[in-house]
């Protein structure tokens, strides 16, 4: 048991770091603010949770507090990204040319992507 746990913890940390890296890469590659929020704030959720699980395997004494941190991440992460997206849309942040449909702008009778 004492030999397996550090290995599992290390693997979880590597996996978490990989997802965090992909989230960062998404920030650079994605074309507009909404797609960046998709990649940058949420691909990191799984990365953070996996990292926390990895730390919990390496330091079992911290497991309870790490679990609480994970819980707070799960509660605050969607809230912040949703408010960011809403603010971006309300302030008329331009959308990528790839965007196929904007039902929200249509319902508000705005020309899609134009500032208010």
């Amino acid at each position: 048991m004492n030999t397996i746990l550090p290995i599992v913890g290390g693997l979880l940390l590597v996996l978490g770091a990989a997802f965090l890296f992909l989230g960062g890469l998404g920030l650079v590659r994605m074309p507009d603010v909404f797609n960046r929020i998709q990649a940058g704030t949420k691909a990191t959720t799984l990365g953070t949770l996996l990292s926390l699980a990895g730390f919990a395997c390496l330091q079992p004494d911290w497991a309870l507090k790490l679990f609480l941190i994970g819980l707070f991440v799960l509660f605050t992460n969607p809230l912040s990204s949703q408010v960011l997206a809403r603010a971006a849309h309300r302030s008329g942040s331009s959308m990528s040319a790839l965007t196929s449909i904007d039902a929200l702008a249509k319902d508000r009778n705005e020309p899609s992507g134009e500032p208010l």
Partner: protein, 175 residues
């Protein structure tokens, strides 16, 4: 924002106060990791004050149905949620690393059947936490969701694809 269109919680301020007090005190004890007298007293005083001031506003557990079926569904919901989280993370990650960036983004409109504020909050947060879908705006039962790869701009199809899976569980939990 949406709360005025939602039926008010049928919970009294007293029961709200008690659930808040217990939740806050539990978090305090877990964060401190100790049951010493001074820690407990400080936590109890602070939890009492916060719970007292917010007794009328927040309905935390009060809208949750406490039947065995609802508790069982809660566990099933968490498992389903973890599955979706992993699946969609891999999906978005594969979009990010593929050289031609296969995006088809758009904001689609979907409708929820959930009536309670707590159920809607959980639904919207679940959708937002799942990479690939992001709730931009909410107006009553209508949700506007930014979707990385729009399969169908049709309301019914998008509702089934994004909302349907989570809603099946939340309907039992919150109605």
């Amino acid at each position: 924002m949406n709360s005025r269109t939602v039926t008010p919680a049928n919970s009294s301020p007293t029961s709200n106060f008690i659930t808040h007090f217990i939740t806050l005190l539990l978090f305090w004890v877990l964060l401190n990791g100790s049951l010493a007298n001074d820690v407990l007293i400080v936590g109890a005083v602070v939890a009492f004050i916060i719970a007292f001031f917010f007794r009328g506003n927040l309905a935390w557990f009060s809208e949750l149905r406490l039947t065995p079926k609802a508790l069982f569904t809660t566990v099933a919901y968490i498992l389903y949620y973890i599955k979706e989280l992993v699946k969609s993370n891999i999906n978005v990650a594969s979009i990010v690393i593929s050289p031609d960036l296969p995006l088809n983004p758009g904001i689609v409109k979907v409708r929820t059947k959930l009536k309670t504020a707590m159920g809607r909050m959980l639904l919207v947060n679940s959708i937002t936490l799942t990479p690939g879908t992001l709730t931009v705006e909410m107006d009553g039962e209508w949700l506007y969701i930014h979707w990385v790869s729009v399969d169908s701009p049709d309301i019914e199809a998008a509702t089934a694809g994004i909302v349907g899976g989570f809603e099946r569980y939340l309907e039992v939990m919150y109605g």
